[in-house]
Subunit: 343 residues, 2 copies
DNA sequence: TTGTATGCGTTATCAT
DNA sequence: ATGATAACGCATACAA
C-alpha cells in the first residue's frame, strides 16, 4: 500500500468516493458528517496512511502549529527542564517546538525573527529576559509571546516563573534562623529583574531580622561560576568577612564554594553558602548545596498553556504567573563559625 | 510602513513594477535578472519589509527547511552541546531545528513521525541509538537521517559520534600506566552499540596489558547514577575487589564515586575511577573526574553538515564519522592502593 | 530578460 | 449532508 508519494486528501476522497470537502469535514468537524460517510472516510484514511500536509494547512490557515523558543544559551542548566515542560504541553496540543539560541547576540535574534515573519511560528517563548531583536519597530508585530524564567523587561509580555522574592526570602530566613547576621549577597547584574527581585527578598529578610542596611554586603557578578569566585576574592580583600554567602544563583554559589575550597576553608564549618535554582549539579557538590528549587517543568508547562490560550484569542487573565519556590535543605548551611567573627 | 498584514511577493512586484516571477527570480537566481530590475526589486523588498512565506514556499517545493531532532531526554547532559552544534550549522544554512523527546517511548516516537509525514521536517537527527518508531513499515519512507552520539542499531543510518573504542582504550591505558591490573568495567546494557564498543576498548587495553580475561570484572548497569551505585554494591559483595573502576559513562562514574564516598573510601587514594563523556558535572565532583571528552559541539556540527549534504541529494561518502575522543586527566585516578589487594 | 499561468494540498464559502 | 470551487503565497515551465 505504500505509494511513492504521500497520500493527499484527494487520494482519500477518491477511495472513500466522496469529495475532498467531505474528507476535510470528516477530519475537522466530524459532527457535520453522516455516520456512514465518516466511516468510509476513516477507512480510506487508514488504507492510504494519509496525514494532513501541514504546509498546505498552515498556508491556508495563515498560521502554523509551531512555537518558537528562544534562549540565550541552550546549555543553561535551567533550560532543559523548562523545555521539557514546554514541549510536553505543546505536543499534547498538536504544536511543535522550534528552537533558537542567541548567545545574547541581537543579530542572532533577528535571524529568528524571520521564522516569525515567515509564518513558520505562531507564537514565541522567550527565555532571555529581554526581547532579543534589537529595538526595531518589529516589536510591534510580535506574535503572542510569553516569557519564562526571567521577566522580559523591555516588552509588555506575560511572564511565568518562580516567585524570586519569596524564594530569596526563604534562603535568608534559613540563614538567619541558623544564627547568621553577616550575610553577603552575591548578585547578578545581567539578569536585572530576577536579580533585583532576589535582592529584594534578601533585604526583606534582613529587615525582618533587624540587620541594618549598613551591615549588609552586596557584590555583583554576572551569574557565572567564575564571577562567584571573583566576587569571593574581592570580599577577602576587605577587613570584615561575612559568615554566610547568599548567592543569586547556583552557578555563583558553585564559584564561591570552589574559591572557598581553594583557600582551604570548610563548608559549612567555616562559611555557609546558599544558591538559587537547584540545578542538577547542586546535588553533587561537596558539600551538597542548599538552594531554592525552581519548578522548571511546571514553569514550562504553565507558560506553554498560557501561550496556547493567547493563541486561541483569549486575553491573558493575568500578566504574571508566579510559582512557588521550594527551599531545598542540603549540607552547605549550618550555624555560623566564631572563627572569623572579629578578624 | 507597517501594513496590517505581512507583505507578499505581489506587493513587492507591484511596487517594483515587475511580475511576481521576476521578484522570485531576483531573490533565488539573481544572475538571471537584469541589474537594473534587481535593484528595483531589492528596493521594493526593503520598502515592504517582505519576507518569503515559508509555508507557501515549502508547499510549492514539497520540502521544508526544518530538521527534526529526536532525543530520548532533552535533559541529558550530553544533549545540549550537541544541540548547539546542530543548531549553529543548521541556521547558517537557513534551516531551523524542531525538537522532540521520546522518553524512550515508541508511542511518542510515532507522534514525531507525523512531523515527518506531514512534510514539516525535511530531515531527521536521531539521538536515540534506535529508531524510535516501533517496527512499522514506515521506516521505509524515512527522510534523510543521521544518528548522533550513538549509532542507530536498527536502521542503516549514517552516524556521527566519538570513537568509543579508542576513547575507552585511552582510559584503560591510563589506568594500566598507573599500575592498575584489577580494573572493573561498569557497563550499560541499554545503549548497546556505545556500550559494546567501549567494552571492546576496555578488553583491548587489558589484552595489551596482559591481563587475562578471567581476571576482568564486568558489571552492567543502565548508564544512570543510581545504576553506578548499585553496581558498586554488587561488587562489594564479592570476595575480590578491583583497584579501579572504569565506567561506561560519567553518570555511572558519579554513582560509583557517591557509593564509594558513602562507604568512607577515599578517591583516588583507595580506588581510582574513570568516566566517559566529560559532562559538565565531571569538573565539580570531589575529586574532579578523569574522563574521556566527547567533542559535542563538533559532533553536532558535523552531523548536521552531513545531513544537509544528504538533503542536497549527494550520497554520503561514508556511513560513519568518528571523531577523536580526548583523555581529560583530572584527580580521580592515581596509582593503586595496596590496601585491598589481598582481601 | 521578462511575463503568464499552473499547481502544490488545504480549508472555507457557497450552492445544491 | 454533500459537492464544486476559490484562495492562501510561492516557484517554475513555457511563451514571448
Amino acid at each position: 500500500m505504500s505509494s511513492s508519494s504521500p497520500a493527499t486528501i484527494e487520494d482519500v476522497a477518491r477511495i472513500a468516493q466522496v469529495s475532498i470537502a467531505t474528507v476535510s469535514r470528516a477530519i475537522h468537524t466530524p459532527e457535520k458528517v453522516a455516520n456512514s460517510t465518516r466511516l468510509k472516510v476513516n477507512q480510506a484514511i487508514a488504507i492510504t496512511g494519509y496525514t494532513t500536509n501541514a504546509m498546505a494547512r498552515s498556508l491556508r490557515l495563515g498560521r502554523s502549529n509551531m512555537i518558537l523558543v528562544v534562549a540565550p544559551d541552550i546549555g543553561d542548566p535551567n533550560f532543559s527542564n523548562i523545555l521539557v515542560g514546554l514541549e510536553n504541553e505543546a505536543r499534547s496540543h498538536g504544536y511543535g517546538i522550534l528552537i533558537g539560541h542567541t548567545h545574547n547576540d541581537p543579530q542572532r535574534g533577528l535571524e529568528y525573527l524571520k521564522f516569525l515573519n515567515s509564518n513558520q511560528a505562531a507564537g514565541l517563548i522567550l527565555f532571555t529576559g529581554i526581547l532579543p531583536f534589537g529595538h526595531q519597530s518589529m516589536t510591534a508585530r510580535l506574535p503572542p509571546s510569553v516569557g519564562v524564567f526571567e521577566p522580559v523587561y523591555n516588552g509588555g509580555i506575560p511572564y511565568v516563573g518562580v516567585d524570586d522574592i519569596e524564594g530569596a526570602r526563604k534562603a535568608v530566613d534559613l540563614l538567619v534562623a541558623e544564627g547568621h547576621r553577616k550575610i553577603a549577597f552575591i548578585g547578578d547584574s545581567r539578569t536585572r529583574l530576577a536579580y533585583s527581585r532576589r535582592r529584594q527578598g534578601y533585604d526583606a529578610g534582613l529587615d525582618a531580622a533587624g540587620v541594618p542596611p549598613g551591615e549588609r554586603t552586596i557584590l555583583e557578578g554576572d551569574g557565572t561560576i567564575e564571577s562567584g569566585r571573583l566576587a569571593l576574592e574581592q570580599l577577602f580583600m576587605r577587613d570584615t568577612l561575612p559568615t554566610a554567602f547568599m548567592c543569586v544563583n547556583d552557578q555563583t554559589a558553585i564559584g564561591v564554594m570552589i574559591g572557598l575550597g581553594a583557600r582551604g576553608y570548610d563548608i559549612p564549618g567555616d562559611f555557609s553558602v546558599t544558591g538559587f535554582d537547584d540545578v542538577p549539579q547542586a546535588t553533587f557538590m561537596t558539600p551538597s548545596l542548599t538552594t531554592i528549587r525552581q519548578p522548571r517543568t511546571a514553569i514550562g508547562k504553565s507558560a506553554m498553556a498560557l501561550l496556547l490560550e493567547l493563541l486561541s484569542g483569549s486575553e491573558p487573565p493575568e500578566t504574571e504567573i508566579l510559582l512557588r519556590p521550594d527551599l531545598i535543605v542540603r549540607n552547605s548551611v549550618t550555624a555560623p563559625s566564631r572563627r572569623f567573627q572579629k578578624r
